[in-house]
Symmetry: C2
Subunit: 466 residues, 2 copies
Amino acid sequence: MNTIKSYVETHKNRFIDELIELLKIPSISADPAYTQDVIDTSAAIKASLEKAGCDHVEICETPGYPIVYGHKHISDDLPTVLVYGHYDVQPPDPLDLWESGPFEPIIKKTDIHPEGAIFARGACDDKGQMYMHVKALELMNETDQLPCNVKFMIEGEEEVGSESLAWFVERNQEKLANDVILISDTGMISNTQPSITTGLRGLSYVEVEVTGPNRDLHSGLYGGAVANPINILAKMIASLHDENNHITIPGFYDKVEDLSAEERAEMAKAPFSLEAYKNALDIDAVYGEAGYSTNERNSIRPTLDVNGIWGGYTGEGAKTVIASKAYAKISMRLVPNQEWKEITELFKTHFESIAPKGVKVKVTPHHGGQGYVTPIDNIGYQAASKAYEDTFGVPAIPQRSGGSIPIVSLFEKELKSKTILMGFGLNSDAIHSPNEHFGIFNYLKGIETIPLFYKYFTELSKELED
Amino acid sequence: MNTIKSYVETHKNRFIDELIELLKIPSISADPAYTQDVIDTSAAIKASLEKAGCDHVEICETPGYPIVYGHKHISDDLPTVLVYGHYDVQPPDPLDLWESGPFEPIIKKTDIHPEGAIFARGACDDKGQMYMHVKALELMNETDQLPCNVKFMIEGEEEVGSESLAWFVERNQEKLANDVILISDTGMISNTQPSITTGLRGLSYVEVEVTGPNRDLHSGLYGGAVANPINILAKMIASLHDENNHITIPGFYDKVEDLSAEERAEMAKAPFSLEAYKNALDIDAVYGEAGYSTNERNSIRPTLDVNGIWGGYTGEGAKTVIASKAYAKISMRLVPNQEWKEITELFKTHFESIAPKGVKVKVTPHHGGQGYVTPIDNIGYQAASKAYEDTFGVPAIPQRSGGSIPIVSLFEKELKSKTILMGFGLNSDAIHSPNEHFGIFNYLKGIETIPLFYKYFTELSKELED
């Protein structure tokens, strides 16, 4: 424990500098303009894993962006931890809302991060959290306390659906064989109250296109006489929720399991201030499905949100036009048991069925993934819990998250192992938003906590064998 | 008559070339990036009026873009025709739907225009139609048959609400004194069936902004728990029409006059093929207010259309974001008696009132104008009717148009004279759309017909005096 703390203390400035270098590369997987940057980032990850002490590192080509694989093997008799992370990032726009360049990392102090936070796209999601694992390996290696085997699998398409990862995992089950999968790509309640994510929502992401007339029309000459694709799209979107904010797609809730009163009561114990929540977002009221609390709405309930909408004239001033086409990107967060491909089909069928005459509708599925619930009675969860308690001084709380890491249920299916979600980010870190940041405290605390997970996981594995 | 036809025949290539030069200047009044081009266009108009034979031409400065004023005075005993037109154009976007550059005019044949049409932004609306008047003056001047006084007032802000024109007209009533106002900024039924526009709709154009959380949020962490401004905007827009496509804004229809059964029967006589209309737009059904025909919906009934909508992530691929803000541009076409400023207020009050808790709504009025109905029992209308009959060989049909020229009702109020809307465009000319064009036939026919209007108007004026 002391060697861990002192190693971090000695090397922390270098740890921060190395992360800052990594954050400067705009590895935006969604935008083909950044292809070379994404590839450059995979090379940087490879180099960092080699430097941290892996025996073997390789860039594995896939149909999409490469996956960086690395391992350090000690003994066949010891357990193996597979670390997963991603080196790609979300697009940074809207750019005008960033206070500093998204790929020009700077350190600033905030109320929540009095020790400073690194501001940059990917600082928390996931370059910062992924790099904690690289530095934790370096630490364990340099201080000679790596207690087990470790494998790394760092991908470059997490923000666009992890298609190539699925392809890779299916084809490399032996290479990826492990006893537990460890991921830091989630958050915790606060810097004084760690938590371990035990549930993730699934996702179905689609794009819709509504076409009316075959060309843009003058709204004076045609207004009122033809279906306006924007008005129709608005009507169709509006109809996807009823007056209680339930989703109206037939069959959508068929596989949603209601939590028991006990489980909901347990959830309600997590510290939460509605006033602080509203103040942080500058809203006068929360909004959501009738009959559920805010924490339930964003974790155990499925949702449907429009992520983007566009059509017609959006420039300066006024243009009296009826657009030929209107578009929206729509995503649904799903709960365990909801099959994402089935939900995508239900959406498509329903959305096409509600289009009035006078327009044509096209629904294009983007990507998706299954929801997941981690049981808390396995040694992976227990090892994480003990590690957090050691470094934070208080026990971690299990928590369901509203986010999605679609690949987790695939790991369980293909690799037959449980995933432990040890997140060190905070909700206020603005991931996917302008001014994303990651606390220096959180980054260093992660590097300290991860080696303890290895220690406890190896110990608990031995106990199981005995 | 013969001198008119032969003059047009002799000079038609030059008339076309001159218009093409004018169309090359991107005088987009809505976009500040084109300020110098708009100003350059006013200078080009001044030069063309001088060349056509005006005694006096001046560029009149205003709080916005300049107005080009010119006149040719023959005698105080003769009537005066005031020609109005505009030299600004609509923004050309979406650019990718243009088959040739919007400011690189080319002549192409189409089914409707076998003699060719000039394709360019502003070809019909309104540079082409305005320039017919310049060339008609040249013709009358050169062939010594201008029968009365003529004034020109060509503005540069018609596509953005004509604010400076209102300012100018109020301050220059004596300068602008006239017996009739002549405008070519509308269309006719077809190249074999001329029509004169006797009614215009008014307009109220607003922009709305819906703000939810103070920053873009991750849709997994916040989805379902806060009001999503795009979903809310869609809901609010959808609620502006009921199931019969009536507009739901309280008070909106209070001043709308229902036409008598006779008037509607008269309107229904205009040649119209619903099949041809649907085929031209590639739609399987028309769409609009229950209880009204297509021609009624786009002329005698008020409407509400979204002209543009945007919010969230609209780039390539997927981004799981809840946007902080969503926007729409919304315009209402109004019928005579509906007061546009009152309607704008009704919209604002209603739209703000339907915003749910959890979002803030801002409504910004852009511009607007009154609807107008021209009586057909005045000598201006009769002169136009005789002129069309001479050149087309069939009588022109009076027709209400769905478009708006907000300034027309201001002219009546400030200048106490009637406006005659002698349009030569066709609905299929794609004004305000990509690939706007204006038939060579229509352009030359306009130059031929306008001098006859002057002739008949002067004759009928004398008869009135006798």
